[in-house]
């Protein structure tokens, strides 16, 4: 096993990888920008190297600086996390050329799968079903219009190098196409430094179901089952789960075999994910392969018991996967909510500021993979995902009620977050039934956000507001003696009036 690994990332995923290394007895090297001098991932590592100013183009995307940092600290391997340089073939190649182990698939597999168009072509060549679409990047709006006419509207524009919905646009009519192509190109350039965009047929109301693959360098390729990631807004995944209500054991086997076939065709090693659209009739279409760790890998970990990040490290160090495919069956149900610094009540606009208070949820079945803490500064330079809240339950119903309980337990103050939005989703009848597809959230969002509080909550908020105002007026000693049966009858011990007591304690503290 490696003695020292450099993590070329930040936030929750850098901490996730650091923890995996700590548990395997591996020393860690963090890299950081000037905005992250006090970030948790820097402090929790064994070593840390400053690589540049806050913008990621000047720090976390500077591959040559990261390789220098690895050489400086004698790190034997680099884990790229997700995002940033994780799917850049040139970086995987540069790492290898520098004599450092790349914790991910071979550069050749990234090349084969990293571009969606190339991946589609390879899938088609291997008999894997795909959504009709272009296999080459679009030249211009005119070409796009011709192809869209052939497929029929709506169509989807997608960045070839993309992920997470960046550079993606749904187009319903010819007149929107030129503008949408321009916007997709701009976003793709800004996010991936690559403006290649392609076009495909839009499948109505499909689910987004993906298969986690784990492959060692000794020829074993395993499917770890599916994740359902249909709850998306603007093509951004918000909530993921494993297994999927729509996947039967038979379908799981078929999709798993398909994903393993794709991975084998690409000469794949390490962890990767094949994304599929699953339509209402149970047909599935290969979309792309993500040649890296996914944000949502924990839900698979919780239902399979396999620590994917630890296995990434073991595989890169040459270990063999000891599991047999038939042993890998989902056990229970896991759900993940992405806790982002976005204001759901205000069109999900990003929110910035200092986290003044963070109270983590805990108790049975609750996992918190976070990248921030009390005191952390949330800026504009990086992705707004603060943390992932993941729960495990024996079945989906237990997982949903547990997630709701954990979300209510969670407190983040200082920035707006998606917490309240997630609570409302857990309360939603359609979500509870699993009646979701990739457009579900867009359709349902308004009614979720507008769901009114109960009359009991209004009453409590009103009374709390009045009590706070009363206290802030300095009327600390007012005693509101109990009316009705506030204290148990019987028993001779008379306690001090609780209001008075609370007020007294407040008085002492101020």
């Amino acid at each position: 096993m490696f003695k020292k690994v450099l993590i070329a990332n930040r936030g929750e995923i850098a901490l996730r990888v650091i923890r995996a290394c700590q548990e395997l007895g591996i020393k860690t090297v963090a890299v950081y920008s000037e905005a992250d001098v006090r970030a948790p991932h820097v402090r929790e590592a064994d070593e840390a190297v400053l690589i540049g100013p806050p913008p990621s183009s000047e720090s976390y995307l500077r591959g040559e600086k990261i390789i220098e940092a690895a050489k400086l600290t004698h790190a034997e391997a680099i884990h790229p996390g997700y995002g940033f340089l994780s799917e850049r073939e040139w970086f995987a190649r540069a790492v290898r050329d520098a004599g450092i182990v790349w914790i991910g698939p071979p550069a050749e597999a990234i090349a084969a799968m990293g571009s969606k168009t190339a991946a589609r072509a390879l899938a088609v060549a291997n008999g894997v079903p795909v959504v009709p679409g272009t296999t080459e990047p679009l030249e211009n709006a005119k070409e796009a219009e011709n192809i869209a006419k052939k497929f029929g509207y709506p169509v989807l524009l997608k960045a070839a190098a993309g992920g997470g919905g960046k550079g993606m646009r749904m187009v319903s009519a010819p007149k929107e196409l030129a503008g949408a192509l321009e916007a997709a190109r701009r976003e793709a350039t800004s996010a991936f430094a690559d403006d290649a965009v392609y076009l495909e047929k839009f499948v109505a109301q499909p689910r987004h179901v993906e298969i986690q693959v784990l492959a060692d360098s000794h020829g074993t390729v395993l499917s770890l089952g599916e994740r359902e990631c249909s709850v998306q807004r603007r093509h951004q995944k918000m909530i993921e789960e494993s297994p999927s209500v729509a996947v039967t054991p038979e379908l799981r086997r078929k999709m798993g075999e398909t994903a393993v076939r794709v991975a084998r065709a690409a000469g794949y090693a390490n962890a990767g994910t094949c994304e599929f659209l699953l339509d209402q009739s149970g047909e599935f279409y290969f979309l792309e392969m993500n040649t890296r760790l996914q944000v949502e890998h924990p839900v698979t970990e919780l239902v399979t018991g396999i620590d994917i990040v630890q296995w990434q490290l073991r595989i890169a160090a040459g270990e063999k996967l000891p599991f047999r495919q038939e042993e890998i069956v989902p056990h229970g149900w896991a759900i993940e909510c992405r806790i982002t610094s976005e204001d759901a009540s205000n069109n999900f606009l990003p929110s910035t500021g200092r986290i003044r208070h963070l109270h983590l949820p805990s108790g049975p079945g609750v996992r918190w993979d976070g990248g921030v803490e009390s005191g952390s500064e949330v800026g504009l330079y990086y992705d707004p995902m603060l943390a992932k809240l993941i729960v495990w339950g024996a079945d989906r119903e237990q997982a949903v009620t547990r997630m709701r309980r954990a979300l209510v337990d969670l407190i983040i103050q200082g920035v707006e977050t998606s917490r309240d939005f997630h609570i409302r989703v857990m309360d939603d009848d359609e979500f509870r039934r699993g009646a979701i597809d990739v457009q579900w959230l867009e359709r349902r969002l308004a009614s979720i956000l507008e769901r009114p509080p109960s009359e009991e909550s209004v009453r409590v908020a009103a009374i709390a507001g009045a009590l706070l105002a009363e206290r802030d007026r300095g009327a600390r000693a007012v005693s509101t003696a109990g009316v009705g049966a506030a204290l148990p009858a019987g028993g001779g011990d008379v306690a001090p009036d609780p209001w008075t007591q609370a007020a007294r304690i407040d008085g002492l503290r101020d």
């Binding site: 960046k166 929110s351 910035t352 504009l380 330079y381 917490r419 209004v458 709390a464 009363e470 009705g484």
Partner: protein, 167 residues
């Protein structure tokens, strides 16, 4: 003391009386409010009932953000007299006109969809700005006519900056 409590778009009355706390025309109930040091969580106890309320004090007398059961309430609790005075002055101040488009965060302006003199509807997309690598569309909350456009594509703006004024 009798309070008029504004909660988002609702208004309720709460009286803090010697016999307890009275909500609207309910019977008074024994009430406690207690804190946890260093935490924004408050416990509100009404009779035997317990509620966990997360509190953030806002600028301004009686103003708080409160969370109850995952719902957020923008709250203003004023005594009846102060509430009346405020309402009167608000009524005499007259309409304040359509709300301008303000930058809700620092970022880069990608596109401005309107020009001076354009008629806009509530909900219409006015400005697109980029922040955290995503484009975000800013919409008008009220209808109106574009009075001025303060930014152009490429302008970097701070949080709270005026982008487009309506009249």
């Amino acid at each position: 003391m009798r309070y008029v409590v504004q909660l988002n778009d609702r208004r309720q009355t709460v009286s803090i009386e010697p016999e307890g706390v009275r909500y609207e025309d309910e019977m008074p109930v024994h009430a406690e409010l207690s804190d946890i040091e260093g935490s924004p969580v408050r416990m509100v106890k009404l009779g035997t009932h317990v509620y966990r309320v997360v509190v953030e004090k806002l600028q301004g007398r009686g103003k708080y953000s409160l969370w109850v059961d995952g719902h957020r309430f923008e709250t203003e609790a004023l005594d009846e007299r102060t509430r009346s005075i405020r309402d009167l002055s608000a009524a005499t101040a007259g309409p304040t006109g359509p709300a301008p488009i303000i930058a809700p965060m620092p970022g880069l302006i990608v596109r401005v969809n309107v020009s001076v003199g354009d008629r806009v509807e509530a909900g219409q997309g006015i400005v697109v700005m980029e922040a955290m690598k995503m484009e975000n569309e800013l919409r008008a909350t009220t209808g109106g006519t574009v009075k001025s456009v303060e930014v152009a594509s490429g302008t970097a703006v701070e949080k709270g900056a005026l982008l487009v004024a309506l009249e």
